[in-house]
């Protein structure tokens, strides 16, 4: 650090940074993007390996053989489900009891803040049924969970049936060291949330549920099973959980190892692995898989029942059976064996899964990018914000802003406060104003919420700079510089914190927000830059993500369909926040959007 303390060299360095500020920023930005895209290139990634010793070296022999019985059970379950017009609670209780489990039920009810049009539900009332297989000579301190959602219609019958068949088989084995909980939850994530909150006796989302009667100590790991056909062509592993949390990589490794052992085709993000990494197609394939993971992680929602377990420090993943038109089919017995093997290895665990990575991206199931490799991509983008702070015009006003008596404080404070108040309005009003909106406009509640949100978002564009002008008169040259300095540091801190928790979200926001925020001044052609700024605002980022996501899952949509999807994504985001405590919506509304408004303010500084 002598380099920085030495005034001469320091002067030279600051001189260099000031003179070449813009080129350095551009280089950093491009380097960040290139680094990120390079992550999917196979030679730059690491091969996955089992870190956990207890799961790696132990041999497990799979003997589950009642796949056929599971399929006939699925038909029986389906019949009872139709008869009960929902979850056949009594039948499930009897079925589990007859398999020697301790069976308990939990009823729950939840009124959604507004109707969920995707899943067509508003007042949700349901029951979870779970059976506990008590491990012999174990003191009820540890447990594993296998869950299967009881979905409406024809879906997931096979999953529930396979769960029961596994329960029957597991009950007759003597090697269990941990209790095993078999959970059939109704109303997918809402049921899981109610069960988890009941199990841990917390209430973070205002759910109403009856207390649980049976428990089995601290849950070590959970597997969620989704299976809707008698035979499958491949198994898909879903890892992305609430707020972008991921389970320990060893869980993915375990799944991959058993797929290899039993010869089951396995996919991640619905994409098979390719071996031709050195061709353009191979690279594109890996990049697409990784981009899908980034997009899914960034949106912060739980992509399967497993996602809600992660909050409770329970490593969990969903296994989803996919039946496409390939010739190669896998039967229920093999899936049962795969699950048996996984559960038995998890049963062998001496400690919680902790050896492997918690922060990673997967370009394929056998390769991973660890946090040490992907963080530089974000760092290169974030450093631009810090470089702009040292921009010559900005440097001098730093000392000004430190003096409390200077007018700079008020000029900065007004737009900051107003931006944040707009953010608070965006966070609170859509849900609370829905009744009023429904009364005055011919829209449904869901539309009312989303359209209110968009209206407040748009109104925010007009509000801050006008009010600010009214309050403190003409803005000075120094005023916007102080504001920009504050806003840059604020954005840097925001993005930095976000990227630490949810890299994907931080990175996507950085990609769109950094270029415009770094270059904005009031002296630019206002109309042109206003358009560019709006096009790079958080809302449009979501819109682009919707289109890219549709493109990546090979279901491209037209503009109008995309718009409808965009609306539903917003309503889902608000619902996820209310139902499961997802933090993406409050983050965007309360912090990112106000921060962006501050830059918008600078553009219209007078």
């Amino acid at each position: 650090m002598g380099l920085l303390s030495d005034p001469n060299r320091r002067k030279a360095l600051t001189g260099l940074l000031t003179r070449l500020n813009t080129p350095i920023c551009i280089v950093c930005y491009l380097a960040g993007i290139v680094w990120f895209m390079g992550l999917a290139f196979e030679p730059f990634t690491l091969r996955t390996y089992m870190s956990e010793n207890a799961m790696g070296s132990t041999m497990v022999e799979e003997r589950f053989s009642s796949g056929e019985r599971a399929l006939s059970l699925a038909k029986e379950f389906d019949a009872h489900k139709r008869q009960a017009r929902g979850m056949p609670v009594e039948w499930l209780v009897k079925a589990m009891q007859s398999r020697g489990l301790e069976v308990f039920t939990q009823s729950f009810s939840r009124k959604l803040p507004f109707p969920d049009e995707n899943k067509e539900r508003y007042m949700v009332r349901g029951t979870n049924v779970y059976g506990i297989l008590r491990a012999p000579r174990a003191p009820r301190t540890e447990a594993l969970v296998i869950t299967a959602p009881c979905s409406p219609g024809n879906t997931n019958n096979q999953a529930v049936a396979l769960l029961l068949a596994l329960a029957q088989y597991f009950r007759n084995q003597i090697y269990w060291a941990k209790d095993i909980i078999f959970l059939v939850n109704e109303h997918d994530l809402i049921g899981t949330q109610a069960w988890l909150e009941g199990y841990h006796h917390t209430n973070i989302t205002g759910m109403e549920y009856s207390p649980l009667q049976g428990r089995a100590g601290s849950i070590q790991a959970a597997l969620s099973l989704e299976l809707s056909s008698d035979v499958i062509t491949s198994l898909d592993l879903v890892l992305e959980g609430l707020n972008g949390q991921l389970p320990n990589l060893d869980l993915a490794n375990l799944f991959y190892a058993f797929c290899q052992k039993l010869g089951v085709l396995c996919t991640i993000q619905g994409k098979l692995q390719r071996n031709d990494w050195d061709t353009a197609e191979g690279y594109t394939h890996a990049a697409q898989t990784m981009m899908l993971m980034v997009l899914k992680q960034a949106c912060g929602r739980s992509w399967g029942d497993h996602g809600l377990f992660l909050r409770y420090h329970i490593e969990a993943a969903s296994v989803r059976g996919i039946n496409s038109f390939r010739h190669y089919k896998t039967d229920a017995t093999t899936i049962g064996r795969l699950l048996e093997g996984m559960v038995r290895k998890l049963n062998n665990l001496l400690e919680r899964l902790h050896q492997s990575y918690f922060f990673y991206l997967l370009p394929s199931l056998s390769r991973f990018v660890s946090i040490g490799y992907y963080m530089p991509a974000f760092g290169l983008l974030a450093v631009i914000l810090l470089l702009r702070v040292s921009f010559p015009g900005l440097c001098h006003c730093f000392s000004v802003s430190l003096q409390p008596s200077s007018p700079g404080v008020l000029t900065v404070l007004t737009p900051v406060v107003i931006s944040h108040l707009t953010g608070v309005a965006l966070y609170l009003l859509p849900v609370h104003l829905q009744e009023m909106a429904v009364e005055h406009f011919p829209v449904s509640e869901t539309e009312a919420v989303v359209l209110t949100a968009i209206a407040i978002y748009t109104a925010g564009l007009a509000l801050p700079h006008n009010t600010q002008r009214l309050l403190s008169g003409e803005g000075t040259e120094q005023g916007w510089k102080v504001l920009k300095l504050t806003a840059l540091l604020y954005l840097a801190v925001l993005l930095g914190c976000t990227a630490l928790i949810n890299f994907s979200l931080g990175f996507i926001l950085a990609v769109t927000l950094v270029p415009i925020t770094a270059s904005i001044t009031p002296h630019m052609p206002k109309a042109l830059y206003a358009v560019v700024m709006v096009l790079l605002s958080p809302a449009f980022t979501i819109l682009y993500c919707v289109f890219i996501y549709q493109e990546l899952i090979e279901a491209p949509v037209s503009v109008s369909e995309g718009w409808m999807l965009f609306l539903s994504v917003i309503s889902q985001g608000i619902l996820d926040h209310a139902l499961y405590g997802s933090l993406v919506y409050p983050l965007l509304a309360l912090f990112i959007y106000p921060c962006w408004l501050m830059f918008w303010n600078i553009l219209f500084w007078n």
Partner: protein, 562 residues
């Protein structure tokens, strides 16, 4: 001939005293409502001596194991209870056990009130017992030992109430296996060579849902008038066999299927040797082979039960108990039941919930709840709440001894009145302490154990209990002395807890984080320095000639050069 005379006299003098030593063995088999089979062995050795009297030295052992006798006299032990259990007794499925025990190891000892250094004696005693039973009892130290004020009263003679002479400790992590069973079997007069102990084949005993073995030593009266005292050693072994797993779905059992042994003879040293089969719940659909004419009734745990009795000391008994079918009836809910769990998420705080159920339809009764929590869960005792039927239930007695970091655990004892047919919830919040890095166990991510809490109660009985003291009572119904007709004593243990503490990642990334933090700190320090320091342009220092010239000029008093 003359030389043999003193020996004869000596033998003659010894015989009357020695003849009062006694050994009884007993096996109770009870089909449980869940379809499992509960087998409970009890062996009682009576030792007619009172070595606690001054000046009496004991060197003769007949039936009583010498290793334990020496321990008793050396450490002035008044009462000793030790149990090793693998598994958790499922009260809701199995009802009450004859003698309850928590998962892991439990040891509680009353010392004689002449002992001056109780803690020293306790420490030595645990180490000695550790050797005798091949168990990790040497891990008992002051950090997990408590002195309960009310929950553990002496079960034998004497009404010691000063809990300074009581020590109680549990090791919830202790794993019980064959190496603990072998020394336990060696304490029996016949070993595992004859009598009921023949059935104890460890391969089968540990192929079960629950296994518990215990040793209880206490002084008791020899007769009703209590004119002479004796030491009683009770060895108990409780096993629950899971017929679902081993019987391929068939509800049939035989001694051979359970133990892969049959009985051939009673222990020749035993004064009584009996097998009881509980037939209360299924009087008609019973097919015991061989059938027995003997039926017995016993009142145990507030319930009158009927038993088929096989007396092994009679020759015609022998044969095999074979194949009998069971009728499953709806379970009579146990009157008292308790469970415990940790609520909340995250690694900073949490809440311990203890739920106690009183399933009696119309009687309220008080229970003593005892909780011993290690110091690294820092209890916030002001958050202690007791609620029954969603109303505040104020305990009538609270004894709380706060923990001292690294020295002693929390001890919380409460007397709570349980309303009839109710669920009472006791909650207390805690914060998880950050341990020093050497204090973590080798498997820190497994979590840390908190021992079972103990609920002791006098539960109202459905039938009149017998209070008179008779020798011919079966052993399983005579362990806890019954003081009144209308209630019986029950102790219920909750499950132990496994709590995760904030744990550093003891691996390469941990080092990387440390290193990165150092680098960041150094970098940040210099940046901060640069940002906050005010820099001034410094004049280059004048050359030496100029300074010399200025010095001369200052002396001369002429203006200085610039």
């Amino acid at each position: 001939l003359d030389s043999r005379l003193p020996l004869v006299i000596f033998l003659h003098a010894l015989t009357p005293a020695a003849a009062r030593d006694e050994f009884q063995e007993e096996l109770v088999i009870r089909p449980l409502h869940s379809g499992d089979i509960y087998a409970s062995f009890q062996f009682r050795t009576l030792w007619d001596t009172d070595f606690l009297q001054e000046g009496q030295k004991v060197s003769h052992y007949r039936l009583f194991p010498k290793s334990l006798g020496q321990v008793l006299s050396k450490f002035s032990v008044r009462e000793l209870h030790i149990s090793f259990s693998q598994g958790f007794w499922r009260t809701m499925q199995w009802g009450q056990p004859f003698i309850p025990s928590p998962p892991g190891a439990e040891l509680w000892v009353w010392f004689h009130d002449t002992v001056s250094d109780v803690d020293g004696n306790w420490k030595e005693l645990t180490n000695v017992l550790s050797g005798i039973f091949c168990a990790s009892l040497n891990f008992i130290d002051l950090t997990n030992t408590v002195q309960p004020s009310a929950s553990f009263k002496p079960l034998g003679l004497g009404n010691a109430t000063d809990h300074r002479f009581l020590r109680y400790a549990t090791l919830p992590r202790e794993i019980v296996c064959t190496e603990n069973l072998t020394p336990w079997k060696k304490l029996l007069p016949c070993g595992s060579k004859a009598g009921l102990a023949v059935l104890m084949k460890s391969e089968k005993l540990f192929h079960s849902s629950f296994h518990s073995q215990a040793v209880h030593i206490r002084p008791i009266c020899q007769d009703e008038q209590c004119s002479s005292k004796a030491w009683e050693l009770r060895q108990t072994l409780n096993v629950v066999f899971d017929l679902h797993t081993s019987g391929q779905g068939k509800k049939e059992w035989s001694l051979f299927k359970m133990f892969s042994r049959t009985l051939t003879e009673a222990c020749p040293l035993a004064s009584s040797s009996k097998v009881y089969v509980d037939i209360t719940d299924n009087p008609e659909l019973f097919e015991l082979s061989p059938a027995t004419p003997l039926l017995g009734q016993a009142v145990v745990l507030g319930d009158r039960r009927t038993y088929s009795v096989y007396d092994l000391s009679r020759a015609e008994t022998f044969g095999q108990l074979r194949s009998f079918n069971l009728l499953l009836r709806d379970m009579l809910r146990p009157l008292l039941h308790a469970e415990r769990y940790v609520a909340g998420f995250g690694l900073q705080t949490g809440e311990i919930h203890t739920v106690i159920y009183n399933n009696h339809p119309y009687r309220a009764f008080p229970v003593l709840l005892m909780d011993s929590v290690p110091w690294y869960l820092q209890l916030y005792i002001h958050t202690l709440t007791v609620t029954s039927k969603s109303r505040d239930n104020k305990p009538s007695y609270i004894h709380y001894q706060p923990a001292k970091d690294r020295h002693r655990p929390h001890l919380l004892e409460m007397l709570i009145q349980l309303p009839p047919h109710s669920m009472t919830e006791v909650t207390v919040q805690f914060e998880r302490a950050l341990l020093k890095w050497t204090e973590y166990t080798p498997d820190p991510n497994h979590g840390f154990y908190v021992g079972s809490s103990v609920v002791s109660a006098l539960v109202p009985s459905m039938v009149a209990m017998r209070t008179n003291f008779t020798q011919d009572q079966p052993l399983f119904s005579s362990f806890v002395p019954v003081k009144e007709e209308s209630s019986y004593f029950v102790r219920v243990y909750t499950e132990p807890l496994l709590v995760n503490l904030p744990t550093p990642d003891f691996s390469m990334p941990y080092n990387v984080i440390c290193l990165t933090c150092t680098v960041v700190a150094v970098g940040y320090g210099s940046f901060y320095n640069l940002l906050t320091r005010t820099f001034q342009v410094d004049e280059p220092s004048p050359p030496l000639s100029k300074r010399l010239a200025n010095l001369i000029r200052r002396i001369r008093g002429v203006p200085l050069l610039t």
